[in-house]
């Protein structure tokens, strides 16, 4: 078998920003028809690298080669004319315009100086049909779901002859089934010989999509692997530079009475169907699945945030189906949302105010109807110390904290009151290894202290190393329940995807 010629190559590329060397002599080689995953923690240099490939930045050192020829990209537009298109997390669509207007924005078709709307419509329709997207060219972009908007963004890339497609964490904000559709589209592009650079920090997606993986750490390329050699332990070790045992603590599980029980849960939008699970005190129960498998919906439904069509939820022996967040908190259940900026934290307020927010109604935070700011302060300071929050000043507003410390504050909200059950949805998303280790340590302490933990996660190693029991979901259905030694990468992955794929 001959090695296919690379379409796009980065040769010892470096990028110096004022004060930071974001990329340090990185090589990357993208072949036609492959999905090449860039993997690494936040700040490892993934985004800088793709922005160089997409023509946003020019490298301080090193060069790019396109189809074997040296090339200097003059900007995103220049890259696009060469067939290098990128879809970043921030979309470049005008929401009030239609799909066809967006597709040809900046390259409108004209006839004697007037817009040629018929031709525009025909071509837009062609592109969408070719890609097999279920979209109509005259739909307004603002009426589309996030996944559909992403399709438009991708269709825009296909407007010209596409040879390289760069996707930056495309599943980050996709929900139900949207991710699956995206994956199908990627397969299709692959078969047409498009080379795809795919940035992610989700290991499950690597196994699903990738041909090769390049791992970055601290701006350097650590390794490039074929997906066959890229098992999770290896990837995690390469990404963090630590061995697994240093990252994940050993947890003593002492499963006791049942805390959370879900029977035949079906949500009104059918993103979860007939699901049953149980979490006992003193154990960490995993809930695994791809993005869009409905695993997040389960946590939300237990906390009164999703409408339940049928089935019921009990907590600590009482029926709590459809109870509000307030009631669940008062009963001793805490839910940690996956997106701290969106739903978790009040960014412009202080650490103190954020941590105490769910519990202000009760002692010690309120006394005789007024806030007891003294005991609020000491209580929050205690938790900040336990979590080793940096900086230690609890009066700082959250904007001024690093992502890892913000995540610690989010967790701290569950630690200032007596909480029996923690529902943690992606508790380590977008944090550095240090914080990750700290959060895992806390999960252990909480579990060994007798709390029940439902760990909802797309991060496979988290599920493998922290849970004593794990449920796997696929497209809204419960696929498997694994216990103890049954929790292996192969068994989980086998349930992540269509059964027919083996």
């Amino acid at each position: 078998m001959t090695v296919p010629t690379p379409i796009l190559q980065a040769l010892t590329v470096s990028k110096q920003f004022p004060g930071v060397l974001a990329l340090d002599q990185v090589d990357l080689e993208l072949r036609a028809g492959e999905v090449h995953v860039l993997f690494g923690e936040n700040g490892a240099g993934k985004s800088t690298l793709i922005q160089i490939l997409a023509g946003v930045y020019s490298p301080t050192e090193g060069s790019l080669r396109f189809r074997g020829q040296p090339v200097e990209l003059q900007g995103v537009h220049h890259a696009r004319t060469l067939g290098i298109s990128s879809v970043f997390q921030e979309f470049s669509l005008v929401p009030t315009l239609t799909i066809e207007e967006n597709l040809f924005l900046g390259a409108e078709l004209t006839n004697h100086g007037f817009l040629d709307k018929t031709e525009l419509h025909r071509r837009a329709d062609d592109i969408l049909k070719q890609l097999g997207f279920p979209l109509r060219p005259r739909q307004r972009v603002q009426d589309l779901t996030r996944a559909e908007q992403q399709m438009v963004e991708i269709a825009k890339a296909f407007r010209t002859d596409l040879s390289v497609l760069i996707l930056d964490e495309p599943t980050a904000s996709l929900t139900d089934r949207e991710a699956e559709r995206l994956f199908a589209m990627i397969e299709q592009a692959k078969s047409r010989g498009v080379g795809i650079v795919y940035v992610t920090h989700r290991m499950s997606e690597i196994h699903h999509l990738a041909n090769r993986v390049t791992v970055l750490r601290d701006g350097k390329r650590v390794a490039t692997l074929d997906v066959a050699e890229a098992d999770d332990e290896r990837l995690l070790q390469l990404m963090t530079g630590r061995v697994i045992s240093q990252v994940f603590p050993k947890i003593q599980y002492r499963p006791a009475r049942s805390l959370l029980e879900v029977f035949g849960l079906t949500t009104t939008d059918y993103s979860v169907r007939d699901l049953s699970l149980a979490v006992r005190a003193g154990e960490v129960v995993g809930l695994a699945g791809l993005v869009g498998s409905g695993k997040s919906v389960v946590g939300r439904a237990c906390f009164g945030l999703e409408r339940i069509a049928s089935g019921h939820v009990t907590f600590d022996g009482r029926d709590v189906t459809g109870r509000s967040a307030r009631e669940m908190l008062d009963l001793g259940a805490f839910y940690l949302p996956p997106d701290r900026r969106e739903e978790g934290l009040v960014m412009m307020r202080s650490v103190r105010e954020n941590v105490s927010l769910p519990w202000l109604a009760a002692r010690p935070f309120t006394r005789f109807g007024f806030l007891d700011r003294g005991s609020e302060q000491s209580k929050v300071r205690d938790v900040a110390d336990r979590l080793n929050l940096q900086p230690r000043n609890i009066e700082h507003d959250l904007e001024r904290l690093s992502g890892g410390n913000q995540q610690k504050v989010l967790l701290a909200k569950g630690l200032v009151s007596t909480v029996k059950l923690f529902i943690l949805d992606e508790p380590t998303v977008g944090v550095d290894v240090g914080t990750r280790v700290a959060i895992y340590g806390f999960i252990r302490d909480l579990c060994e202290g007798g709390a029940g933990i439902l760990l909802i996660s797309s991060d496979l190693p988290e599920i493998l190393h922290l849970t004593n029991r794990t449920y796997v979901m696929y497209r809204g259905d419960l696929r498997a329940e694994l216990e103890g030694a049954q929790i292996t990468q192969d068994r989980i992955l086998a349930n992540f995807f269509e059964r027919t794929r083996g």
């Binding site: 004022p18 004060g19 906390f303 945030l305 509000s324 967040a325 307030r326 669940m328 908190l329 008062d330 839910y335 949302p337 969106e342 739903e343 978790g344 934290l345 009040v346 960014m347 412009m348 307020r349 105010e353 927010l357 769910p358 202000l360 109604a361 309120t366 109807g369 007024f370 806030l371 700011r373 900086p391 000043n393 700082h396 904007e399 001024r400 909200k413």
Partner: protein, 339 residues
């Protein structure tokens, strides 16, 4: 400007510049305006004139404290001016016939008049709250709508003519009387200020206003009844504007449908100059009152310096914009310092 530059800026900045970053633009504006107007007019820096400023600023200060609540929750209230108007009209329409029928029962007349007027004004706030919190109408449309409705009702009730016949005692007690040389409305304002300070800093309700405006979803997940607190913000805003309307009626001795027209913008200006974020979640009531005092101060100063009232509008507009730009500059530096 990145973090390095910001640090360099701090290293080379003067103590004055650093003070600006710490305390904001408002204290500087106050000092500058004091100096400017003192040099422009000899009458400016006299105790009598400063007392006049304090009394003039009370009405705006009270309305601005209410406006602040709407701003904290991420909205605003454009109906405060017309709440002032309808309160004035209802107060006068209640008092006038009562005073005519029972000239001796002044106390009851005053109490009933104030209750009716403030109640009517507060009711507008209740409607605003229902629209914004329950029906998710944008605060802009909701309060613009109720402003028009209130104005229409006030005009219909009075046919556009001032309502006379308010007992003199109303003006005497709530406007002209002085205790220790300080006019009575200033005491009312001070009392409301203390109540607001306690509400915002020492009660759950106050904390929730900040949280709901800062991040509605996070507040809901923290078990806060976000609709209720949104609703309450508009009710309290309406009630405060109504109190200002009653005090203003005492001052004018008539019920007027045409007062308060500049209140919505002036109150938002006072809040913004006082550092309240238009995106919600940030602001302190002390600075809001200072912002209102500042606006009163420059209006008074320009009057004394015999600057035309039309031109005064221009000056206030310019100052407002400059204050916002200065504040953004400050946020920018602060954010990049991260200690």
């Amino acid at each position: 400007m990145d973090r390095k530059e910001a640090q360099r800026w701090v290293a080379y900045s003067t103590p004055l510049q650093r003070l600006f970053v710490r305390i904001g633009v408002l204290p500087f504006l106050l000092v500058i305006s004091l100096i400017v107007f003192t040099t422009l007019s000899a009458r400016f820096l006299t105790s009598e004139n400063l007392i006049t400023v304090a009394r003039q600023a009370t009405y705006l200060a009270i309305v601005a404290m209410g406006q602040m609540l709407a701003l904290l929750t991420g909205g605003f209230d454009l109906s405060v001016g017309k709440i002032v108007a309808i309160t004035s009209v209802i107060t006068a329409l209640t008092m006038a016939p009562l005073a005519a029928a029972h000239p001796d029962a002044t106390a009851i007349t005053l109490i009933l008049g104030i209750l009716a007027g403030v109640g009517a004004g507060t009711l507008v706030g209740v409607v605003n709250g229902i629209g914004v919190a329950i029906f998710n109408v944008s605060p802009f449309m909701m309060t613009l709508g109720t402003a028009t409705i209130s104005f229409g009702i006030a005009l219909t009730l009075t046919s556009g003519v001032p309502v006379y016949g308010i007992p003199d005692a109303f003006g005497t007690i709530f406007s002209f009387s002085r205790i220790f040389d300080i006019p009575s409305p200033v005491y009312v304002t001070a009392g409301l200020f203390i109540a607001m300070y306690i509400l915002l800093n020492w009660t759950r309700t106050g904390r929730y206003f900040y949280a709901v405006g800062g991040n509605l979803k996070a507040s809901r997940l923290s078990g806060i009844n976000t609709r209720f607190y949104l609703f309450m913000a508009y009710v309290l805003c309406g009630a405060l504007a109504a109190v200002a309307g009653a005090l203003l009626t005492a001052r004018l001795q008539t019920g007027e449908a045409n007062i308060g027209a500049s209140m919505p913008l002036d109150s938002i200006a006072a809040c913004v100059i006082g550092g309240v974020s238009l995106r919600g979640g940030i602001g302190s009531v002390g600075n809001v009152v200072l912002g209102a005092v500042f606006i009163g101060l420059i209006q008074n100063g320009m009057d004394l310096a015999q600057i035309q009232s039309y031109l005064q509008e221009v000056v206030i507009g310019v100052l407002l914009i400059l204050a916002v730009i200065a504040d953004q500059l400050r946020q920018f530096v602060m954010l990049r310092l991260k200690d």
